[in-house]
């Protein structure tokens, strides 16, 4: 694995898992909030909205 930049411990990481056997993406923000969807553009919008993650049912979702 590489060294150097990116090795900083504790820096916030967003994670998106494509759930096997489905078309579903599950996003996890570094704050612990999670979100499921089927559109990666919408998923990044949701993750990068931290700390103002749209709640389920919000307009525009």
């Amino acid at each position: 694995m590489s060294a150097g930049r990116g090795a900083a411990p504790g820096s916030p990481v967003h994670r998106v898992r494509w759930l096997p056997g489905t078309d579903v993406l599950r996003g996890a923000c570094h704050c612990g909030a999670e979100h499921e969807g089927q559109d990666p553009v919408e998923m990044w919008d949701w993750l990068l909205a931290h700390p103002d993650h749209p709640a389920p049912g919000d307009a525009g979702r």
Binding site: R15, V16, P40, V41
Partner: protein, 337 residues
């Protein structure tokens, strides 16, 4: 005509492989900046603005006199800092006679140049690829220019499902496109990681011939993209259902925007098996060059098509694009800084 992606200045970019920079001048253009590269007698790499201050003749088309560059048109002569130390026919060298120089760092057999505010250049920020020059590894490498927006090459490398279709019969098998990915983004560090782990996959010729594995394989692809320039694909192969023998291959790309609509595609394949086998090296060099040229041809065609699109054309993203979309956002943020 489509707009090209904005360049991120104040970043390190690969301008050359170390082996390319020697006692002859080498011309490269990075982020639209023409650069002349050479190596001093003591072995230090130098990067000067590639235009003589006099009549803009390219210094890369000139000659070296020791560690000095002598312009091939009228003989203006520059030292390693870009200061002009000689002009023809007169004793006084005008005070303004100098060309710019770029901070240079040689790391892991790559020559990195800093484009931007030179006071902000910190070589410690250069992402590492230690396998390129590491003991116990053998590397084959090359570089191909592509006539496309650098963002198209980033898109290409971040979504390896294209291996199944564009590189079928070489590195692509059906399982690559079929297998879900996990994407991680470290926003602060500007790093995107995309993992695709295939437990039971067809072995493509690229790995069958280099490893000697017959039959199906466990294949792990773990991408690390250090925006904007360095891309590593950690590839791990073992026979299906087995942890060993494990064949580790590090696929390195440096994605260096050259000019609007043009990008340098530096590539390397490093392996920790058959390290002394020239036949394997020759095979992997030819095989990866073939794969890279398939990308080059596809991206050249794609860019020409995009150039005919009207502004604001639509594209569609699906799950396979999760990593590429993350990379685009980071690149846009870096360009806006």
């Amino acid at each position: 005509m489509t707009a090209h992606s904005a360049f991120a200045r104040n970043q390190w970019y690969v301008a050359a492989w170390s082996a390319e920079v020697g006692g002859d001048l080498l011309g490269r253009t990075v982020l639209g900046e023409p650069i002349a590269l050479y190596r001093t007698g003591e072995g230090r790499a130098v990067a000067l603005a590639d235009r003589c201050v006099h009549r803009r003749f390219p210094l890369s088309r000139s000659r070296l006199d020791g560690d000095k560059v002598v312009c091939g048109y009228h003989g203006f002569t520059y030292d390693t800092t870009g200061t002009c130390v000689f002009v023809p026919g007169q004793k006084r060298v005008p005070r303004t006679a100098r060309v710019g120089s770029f901070p240079v760092a040689e790391v892991d057999s790559l020559v990195w140049v800093w484009i931007g505010d030179r006071d902000a250049a910190d070589p410690a920020a250069i992402p590492r690829a230690p396998h390129l020059a590491g003991e116990g590894w053998t590397t084959v490498s090359g570089m191909e220019p592509v006539d496309c927006d650098f963002g198209l090459l980033v898109d290409n490398l971040m979504d390896l499902s294209h291996e199944t279709y564009l590189h079928g019969g070489h590195i692509g098998t059906p399982e690559v496109a079929e297998t879900p990915i996990t994407t991680e983004v470290d926003e602060e560090a500007g790093v995107v990681r995309v993992s695709r782990h295939m437990q039971d996959a067809e072995c493509p010729p690229f790995y069958a011939r280099s490893t000697g594995i017959e039959g199906r394989i466990r294949r792990r692809q773990d991408i690390e993209y250090f925006a904007p320039c360095l891309y590593l694909l950690h590839s791990r192969i073992s026979p299906a259902g087995q942890d060993a023998p494990l064949f580790e291959t590090e696929i390195t790309y440096a994605i260096t925007p050259s000019a609007p609509g043009r990008v340098y595609d530096f590539w390397a394949v490093s392996r920790n098996f058959a390290v002394g086998d020239p036949e394997v090296s020759g095979f992997l060099r030819d095989a990866n060059h073939t794969v890279v040229m398939q990308d080059v041809d596809a991206l050249n065609v794609l860019q020409r098509c995009l150039d005919t699109e009207t502004e604001g054309y639509q594209e569609l993203s699906i799950n396979i694009d999760t990593g590429g979309l993350a990379a685009r956002r980071i690149l846009a943020r870096l360009a806006a800084q």
